[in-house]
């Protein structure tokens, strides 16, 4: 394929958006709705709830820690074969789970196997999307990520119906067939050769280069801090409302209100990220700071109207920060190294995600209310946005949007030996 100097910003790119939409739905929508199976597993295997919830935790952990592997393989072979293989793995995991006779089988099949499949799909798809767009990158990412929220709406009742019709073994069989659509999504990821690709070399060289890249490391730290505080409301909002003597049904309803304002925020922020000139990192800092402030305001809100308003705002701002978070990376490291970069970021920031919820729960146990948890979560977000200020070109009025920053190409000239053969990603 001929090399392109610029990402196409449209055309087949919109099919990639479609593919990414269904992918995020099939990976995260399935993960988020898996709680429906939870009750069935507890009854079927007669195990306590804590042990059953490890299934989802292992799956999420494998997906996030395996992201660099997916990235490295995509750099080497292109995203299409990697994502298709990931789809087969994810479906195979669910299929084997349908024949499980003990909880350990489920840990291995859903947690390990499906988790590895998901690791091979999510990161390469988003990276591929970033390569297809430059001017409208944030909008494309925002649109693609709405798949997560909408699928959580659809899959929870769907899984419940599958369980009542077919019992849990049959339902897992059909979820496996559903997950197999990831293969079709992968087929849509037509490879793209950009001008920067031959320069940056293979995955090993890219990883080494990234680890010496100052702005990239600072960005990773910022995202890890943000990730620590980001999930707290989703995990603890309902419990906090129950502490304030809310009934369970209105409390759950409030969470779905956040789930509605979330995709609205994603698309709006995506559009804004492309429309506003200058580094996208500034918008990320704006949304992160707003989210942090909202979280810190939560303990002070007692009246129902205040809580509803805060939750709507939280849904909007936390959704808004996701597409821009993904868009900052190509600006920092260039689209050539996007696969490896995204994989590394996912792996490191997942540490924050793993620590955030237990930390918040621990604070609640120690202090008796969720006040400390919310304030600490807000503090993490504000700290993360503070680190973002240190990124290059932050205070420029205008900066190049998709070309790699100067420090990167200089680093390339000095540190990475130029590959002599086997040029061009397919």
């Amino acid at each position: 394929m001929a090399l392109r100097a610029e990402p196409p910003d449209g055309g087949w790119g919109w099919m990639v958006v479609l593919s990414a939409f269904f992918q995020s739905a099939l990976v995260f929508g399935v993960l988020r709705s898996f709680g429906v199976f939870f009750v069935e597993f507890v009854a079927a295997f007669e195990e306590p709830a804590a042990r059953v919830s490890w299934i989802a935790s292992i799956g999420i952990a494998v997906q996030q820690f395996g992201s660099p592997v997916g990235s490295a393989l995509s750099t080497e072979f292109g995203p299409r074969p990697v994502v298709m293989a990931g789809g087969i793995l994810a479906a195979l995991g669910m299929l084997l789970a349908a024949f499980a006779t003990s909880l350990t089988h489920l840990y291995l099949s859903i947690g390990l196997l499906s988790g590895s499949g998901w690791a091979l799909t999510f990161t390469p798809t988003l990276a591929c999307l970033s390569r297809y767009f430059s001017r409208r990158r944030s909008l494309a990412t925002g649109l693609a990520l709405t798949g997560v929220g909408l699928s959580s709406f659809a899959f929870a009742p769907l899984f419940q119906w599958l369980l009542s019709q077919y019992a849990w073994r049959g339902a897992l069989l059909l979820v496996s067939a559903l997950s197999l659509h990831l293969v079709a999504c992968g087929a849509l990821l037509r490879p793209l050769s950009l001008a920067e690709d031959p320069v940056v070399g293979g995955p090993g060289a890219q990883l080494a280069n990234l680890l010496h890249h100052g702005p990239f490391l600072r960005y990773t730290v910022a995202l890890t801090l943000i990730n620590t505080g980001y999930f707290i409301p989703y995990v603890h909002l309902v419990a906090h409302l129950r502490d304030l003597d809310w009934d369970p049904l209105p409390a759950a309803f409030l969470l779905s209100v956040a789930a509605i304002s979330d995709p609205v925020g994603r698309v709006a922020s995506g559009w804004l990220g492309d429309a506003v000139p200058g580094p996208v990192a500034r918008l990320l800092m704006l949304w992160t700071t707003l989210t942090g402030v909202i979280l810190a305001l939560y303990p002070g809100a007692q009246a129902p109207t205040a809580l509803v308003a805060l939750t709507v705002a939280y849904g909007f701002t936390s959704g808004a920060l996701t597409p821009v978070a993904f868009s900052v990376l190509p600006e920092l490291v260039g689209t050539g190294k996007i696969y490896c970069g995204l994989g590394l970021v996912q792996m490191v920031e997942s540490i924050g995600g793993l620590l955030g919820a237990p930390l918040s729960g621990y604070l609640r146990d120690v202090t008796g209310t969720y006040t400390a948890s919310f304030v600490v979560a807000g503090a993490f977000l504000l700290a993360g946005s503070g680190v973002l200020i240190t990124l290059p070109h932050f205070f420029c009025l205008s900066a190049p949007t998709s070309k790699p920053q100067d420090p990167v190409t200089e680093a390339l000239d000095t540190k990475v030996p130029l590959p002599r053969e086997g040029l061009g990603e397919d």
């Binding site: 019709q165 067939a177 197999l180 037509r190």
Partner: protein
């Protein structure tokens, strides 16, 4: 129906008079006698309120206290020291039915009591609307009722719309009956003969009631067809996508890395020149 009290009071007094004419053992003259109101049958709902009455007559012992019990359990806030006992049931329902006793305790004599029965037709208060199980598993259906006297239970299965009594030819049916509870268990469910509507029927001397539970048996193979269908759909999708791509660009060969290939855009800048420079040094 509760009869009017006037003719029954007359009958009662007649009985008492005739009883006192009979010669009895010496102690019989000191036995307390209790006059009660009639037994009550609760029919319609809502039923008019009902009052149970006990009157202690011809008593020569000292009364300490008295109270009401229902089915052997003392009713709260009914304990008094009176020979005339009343218990009022507002809006009587099936669950108010039972065997009521008014109990009198004496200082130095054994206690005495009298019985008033409050009867009603059974009312089924608990059952499963549906039971879904896989073939080979066991199903359990139950019915709970309130009402006195305790009913007789019959399980029926609807065949061609008509309820037929269950015949245990296969030996897989187990029925457990208790006073206000019945349970039907079917072991090793068979998908050909077991699914259907099962009716539990409670009957006592006043009336009867019945409810239906729907039993569904899931086949092991049921999810297989949708699974294969979705598999076929995905294969077709992938084939379409790949074929579409090949037909759009038949000239592209994956190994082609022609260095000076035609650039698709005209914009130039330093970065691109740098890239070209680096490429050309290879």
């Amino acid at each position: 129906m509760s009869g009017s009290s006037l003719p029954s009071a007359l009958a009662l007094s007649l009985l008492l008079v005739s009883g006192s004419l009979l010669p009895g053992p010496g102690a019989a003259q000191n036995e307390p006698r209790i006059v009660t109101s009639e037994e009550v049958i609760i029919r319609e709902s809502p039923a008019p309120s009902v009052t149970l009455q006990c009157n202690l007559t011809s008593n020569s012992h000292t009364l300490t206290y008295s109270y009401w019990t229902k089915n052997g359990v003392e009713l709260t806030a009914t304990r008094k020291n009176a020979s005339n006992m009343e218990y009022r049931i507002n809006k009587p329902r099936a669950e108010d039915s039972g065997e009521y006793h008014c109990v009198y305790h004496f200082l130095s004599a054994p206690k005495a009591n009298a019985t008033i029965e409050v009867k009603a037709a059974p009312d089924i208060t608990g059952h499963k609307r549906s039971e879904n199980k896989n073939e080979g598993q066991d199903a359990m259906m139950y019915c709970k009722s309130v009402g006195y006297p305790y009913p007789e239970w019959i399980w029926r299965k609807k065949e061609n719309g008509m309820p037929m009594e269950i015949v245990n030819t296969s030996g897989r049916f187990i029925i457990i009956n208790r006073e206000n509870y019945t349970e039907l268990s079917i072991t090793n469910l068979q998908i050909t003969e077991d699914p259907g509507e099962y009716e539990c029927n409670a009957t006592n001397s006043i009336g009867s009631a019945s409810v239906v539970t729907i039993l569904r048996v899931r086949s092991h193979l049921a999810p297989l067809w949708p699974f294969l269908g979705i598999l076929a759909e995905i294969i077709i999708l992938v084939v379409i996508i790949v074929v579409y791509e090949k037909r759009k660009r038949p000239d592209e060969v994956p190994d082609d890395d022609e260095p000076a290939g035609p650039m698709k855009t005209n914009s130039t800048n330093n970065h691109k020149d740098k890239n070209l420079r680096q490429r050309n040094t290879n």
